[in-house]
C-alpha cells in the first residue's frame, strides 16, 4: 500500500476500499486457527478457493482463511456473511455445495448446521447458536470479517481510525485521561488499572521509554491471546501505537510465542504493511510522531511471562525477575521506564478511543468493565475461545456457552487462572465474571483460562499437576520458590500414591505461607494458590487420601499400592 501521509488521506483510502467492494457480496470465512487446522482445514480452504473459481464466482464470493472463529469443538467452522450462517464440522467435500448455496442465496444446507445436542434441532444463524448467543464478541468477532493478512480488510472495518483520532484530535494527556477514566484493567492476570500504569511510565524520568506487548501466554489452557493476535494483528498494533503516544514512548517490543508459526507470519506481515503505509515508523500519518516495534520470542519457559523477567529476556539475559520495590513501569528494559500490557489489554485501546469511556464503562460490573476473552477448556462440552461481557455469570459461560460437562459427567469445580489460580466448587458458579469477586473466592481470573472439572477428576491430583508444572517453570533464582515447590511436590506425590502422613496438610500450608511471603516474584508468591483453594473447598479429599488411603474421585492409583 502507498504511504498514508495524513488523516484525510487515510479516510480517502478507506472510502476507496469500501467503494470498490460490493456491500452485498458474500464472504465465506473459514477458520484457519490451530484447532481447525489440526482437523485438516488446509484442504478445506483449498477446496473452497477451487470451487469459487470453478463456479466462476471470483469477485462475487470471497473465501477467507481467517483467525480463530471460537467454536473449536465443532471445527472446522465456516461463517458466511452477510447472511450470518454458521456451518460446523465442514469438510473439503462440502465446499461445492456451500459455495453454490452462498452464490445463489439458496436455503442453508441443513446437515451442516449446528444441531442442538439435546433436541437435534438445527440452528441456522450464528447468533442463535447457544455457544455464540450469550457472547459479546467485541474484540474477537472481527476475526470472521477480515483476512488477517490484509491491511485493506482492517481499514475496511474502520481500522486505524482510533490512531488517527489519537494523533490529530487528542493530546497525549487526553488519551491517557480517556484510558484512565474507562477503568480498563489489565487482562493479563493482575487486573491493575492500565491507565494508572501508563501514567507512572509517562511521569517517570528516562531518556527513552518503552511500551511492550506481553503475548507470551505460557499458561497451559490459555489460547485466547493467540487467537486474537493471529486473527487480527493490526488491532493490537494500533492499540500499542496509541499507548506509545500517550506515554511518550518511541520504541515498542512485542514478546510472543516462538512456537506459533501462523502468529509469527501474520504479525511480521502486519508490521511490514504498517511500516509501508506509514502507520509505523517515522512521522506516523504525517503527525511527526515516530515509533517502531521489535519482535522478541519466549524461548520456552513460563517465568519469562512475568513482567520483570520478560524484560531481562528482551535484553538477552536470563529471565530472572527483580524485586518489586522498583517497578518496571519506572525502571524496566535497559533500566528505562517500560509499560507492559498483555495482548487483550492493548486490543481494547482502539475501541475505547473510538467509542468513548461511557460505552466501555457501560459494560460489565462496577469495577470490572468491558468484555473478557476466555479460553474454555477441560471437560466442557464446547471447548473454544469465548468473549463475554464482564459480570456475566460463570454459570452462563459453563452451562450455556460451554454446553455443560461432556460425556454425561457432573460438574465438580471450575478452575480459573491456570497453575497460579484456584478452583471453586460447581455449586458456586452463579458468581459473576469480575476481577474482585473471583479474587475473593480464591479463583482469580488470571489471563482468562477457564477449566471445567468433572466429578471424576481428583483435586489433589490436579494440584499436584499444577505444582509439578511450576516446579519445571520456576527460574530457580530465589530459594522459597525453588525449594518450596520441590518439597510441596514431594508431599503431594506421597499423598497421591497413598503414602500421605498425618500432618502433611499442615506442612503444605506452612510451605505455602513461606513461599507467598518470601518469594521474589508473583510466580513463587501465587504458586501455592491452587493448593489454598483446594484446601479451602476440597479438604475432605485430601483427608481421604491421607487417612483412608482412598481417592474419592477414583483418579489416583492408590489401590495399587
Amino acid at each position: 500500500m502507498q504511504r498514508i501521509g495524513s488523516p484525510e488521506k487515510l479516510e480517502e483510502i478507506r472510502k476507496a476500499i469500501l467503494e470498490a467492494r460490493d456491500p452485498k457480496a458474500s464472504s465465506i470465512a473459514i477458520c484457519a486457527a490451530p484447532n481447525c487446522h489440526a482437523l485438516g482445514n488446509g484442504a478445506v480452504v483449498d477446496a473452497f478457493e477451487k470451487e469459487v473459481k470453478a463456479q466462476g464466482l471470483e469477485g462475487k464470493v470471497r473465501v477467507m482463511a481467517t483467525g480463530c472463529l471460537g467454536f473449536c469443538e465443532m471445527g472446522p467452522v465456516v461463517i458466511v456473511n452477510p447472511s450470518n450462517i454458521c456451518y460446523v464440522q465442514v469438510g473439503a467435500d462440502d465446499a461445492a455445495e456451500i459455495v453454490s448455496q452462498v452464490a445463489n442465496g439458496e436455503k442453508p444446507i441443513e446437515r451442516l448446521l449446528y444441531a442442538d445436542p439435546d433436541t437435534g434441532e438445527r440452528v441456522e444463524a450464528l447468533d442463535k447458536i447457544p455457544f455464540y448467543r450469550e457472547q459479546s464478541r467485541i474484540l474477537i468477532g472481527d476475526n470472521a470479517r477480515i483476512d488477517p493478512t490484509s491491511l485493506e480488510d482492517y481499514l475496511a472495518i474502520g481500522g486505524y481510525a482510533a490512531l488517527s483520532k489519537a494523533l490529530f484530535a487528542m493530546t497525549p494527556e487526553a488519551i491517557l485521561d480517556e484510558v484512565k477514566e474507562s477503568n480498563l484493567r489489565g487482562r493479563g492476570g493482575g487486573g491493575f488499572p492500565a491507565g494508572r500504569k501508563w501514567e507512572t511510565t509517562r511521569n517517570a524520568p528516562g531518556e527513552e521509554k518503552y511500551v511492550i506487548v506481553n503475548g507470551h501466554e505460557g499458561e497451559p489452557g490459555a489460547f485466547m491471546d493467540r487467537a486474537l493476535f493471529t486473527g487480527n494483528p493490526h488491532l493490537v498494533l494500533e492499540g500499542l501505537i496509541i499507548g506509545a503516544r500517550a506515554i511518550g514512548a518511541t520504541k515498542g517490543f512485542i514478546y510472543t510465542r516462538h512456537d506459533s508459526p501462523m502468529l509469527l507470519a501474520n504479525l511480521n506481515r502486519a508490521l511490514e504493511q504498517a511500516r509501508e503505509a506509514g502507520l509505523l515508523g517515522n512521522d506516523i500519518l504525517g503527525s511527526g510522531f515516530d515509533f517502531d516495534v521489535e519482535v522478541h520470542f519466549d524461548v520456552g519457559i513460563f517465568v519469562s511471562g512475568e513482567s520483570s523477567a520478560l524484560m531481562r529476556s528482551l535484553e538477552g539475559n536470563m529471565p530472572e525477575p527483580r524485586p518489586k520495590y522498583v517497578r518496571t513501569s519506572v525502571s524496566g528494559v535497559n533500566d528505562m521506564p517500560s509499560n507492559l500490557n498483555n495482548v487483550e489489554t492493548w486490543a481494547n485501546v482502539p475501541y475505547i478511543i473510538n467509542n468513548g469511556v461511557e460505552w466501555f464503562a457501560g459494560m460489565g460490573t462496577e469495577k470490572s468493565n468491558g468484555s473478557k476473552l476466555i479460553s474454555l477448556s477441560g471437560s466442557a462440552r464446547n471447548i473454544g475461545v469465548v468473549e463475554v461481557e464482564m459480570g456475566t455469570s460463570l454459570k452462563t459461560v459453563v452451562e450455556t456457552i460451554g454446553g455443560g460437562v461432556a460425556n454425561g459427567k457432573k460438574l465438580k469445580a471450575v478452575h480459573f487462572g491456570g497453575p497460579m489460580g484456584g478452583s471453586i466448587p460447581g455449586d458456586m458458579i452463579d458468581t459473576p465474571l469480575d476481577f474482585d469477586e473471583l479474587g475473593k473466592l480464591g479463583a482469580p481470573m488470571g489471563a482468562g483460562a477457564l477449566l471445567v472439572i468433572d466429578d471424576e477428576t481428583c483435586m489433589v491430583s490436579l494440584t499436584r499437576y499444577f505444582v509439578e508444572f511450576l516446579t519445571k517453570e520456576s527460574c530457580g533464582k530465589c530459594t522459597p520458590c525453588r525449594e518450596g515447590m520441590r518439597q510441596m511436590l514431594n508431599i503431594l506425590n506421597d499423598i497421591c500414591s497413598g503414602e500421605g502422613r498425618p500432618g502433611d496438610i499442615e506442612r503444605l500450608e506452612e510451605i505455602a505461607d513461606t513461599m507467598s511471603v518470601a518469594s521474589l516474584c508473583s510466580l513463587g508468591k501465587t504458586a501455592p494458590d491452587p493448593l489454598r483453594s483446594a484446601l479451602r473447598y476440597f479438604k475432605a479429599e485430601y483427608e481421604a487420601h491421607i487417612n483412608e488411603k482412598k481417592c474419592p474421585a477414583g483418579d489416583c492409583a492408590i489401590e495399587a499400592n
Partner: protein, 150 residues
C-alpha cells in the same frame, strides 16, 4: 553448520550482545540444535563470555545442546490435555520409541518434547509430529501415528 552460515546469522543481528537469544534461536532454527562451535563463535563475535552464552543456551528450554532425532514429537501436557490423558500418550511414546520428554532415541529417529499448550484443547490429548497435529489420541492411535512416521 558452517561458520559462514553462523556469521551470516550474527551479522543479521549486527552482532549485538542484546540479540543473543535471537541469534541462538536462529541458529537452532537452521541447525535444530546448538553445537559447541556455534556457541564459541557467538561468544567471540558478540564479545559475550562463553559462560554467559552457555548459561542462556542451557536455561531456555527450547535450546538443545545435543543433536535432535529426524522427527520431532511434541506432546501437549497442558491442563486440558492432562485431564484428557496426555500421560497415556507419553507412556505410549515410551513403549514404542523408548524415550521420555527431553530425550532422543538411540537410532536418532525421534526426539520427544513435552509442551504446555498448543491451543488445540478441543482435540486433546494432542501430539505434533514434525509440525503436523494429531488429536484425540487414544494409545492405539498414538501407536499408529508413530508407526506411520517414515
Amino acid at each position: 553448520m558452517t561458520q559462514d552460515k553462523i556469521d551470516q546469522i550474527i551479522d543479521k543481528f549486527e552482532a549485538k550482545p542484546r540479540a543473543l537469544i535471537m541469534i541462538l534461536m536462529d541458529i537452532q532454527h537452521h541447525n535444530r540444535w546448538l553445537p559447541k562451535e556455534a556457541l564459541e563463535r557467538v561468544s567471540e563475535r558478540l564479545g559475550v563470555p562463553l559462560a554467559k552464552v552457555q548459561q542462556i543456551a542451557a536455561f531456555y528450554k527450547t535450546f538443545s545442546l545435543v543433536p535432535k532425532g529426524d522427527h520431532e514429537l511434541h506432546v501437549c501436557t497442558g491442563t486440558s490435555c492432562h485431564l484428557r490423558g496426555a500421560q497415556k500418550v507419553l507412556d505410549t511414546v515410551y513403549e514404542v520409541a523408548g524415550i521420555r520428554p527431553g530425550e532422543t532415541d538411540s537410532e536418532s529417529k525421534f526426539s520427544l518434547t513435552a509442551v504446555n499448550c498448543m491451543g488445540a484443547c478441543s482435540l486433546g490429548p494432542v501430539m505434533m509430529v514434525d509440525g503436523q497435529y494429531h488429536g484425540r489420541l487414544a494409545p492405539s492411535k498414538t501407536e499408529d501415528v508413530l508407526k506411520n512416521v517414515k
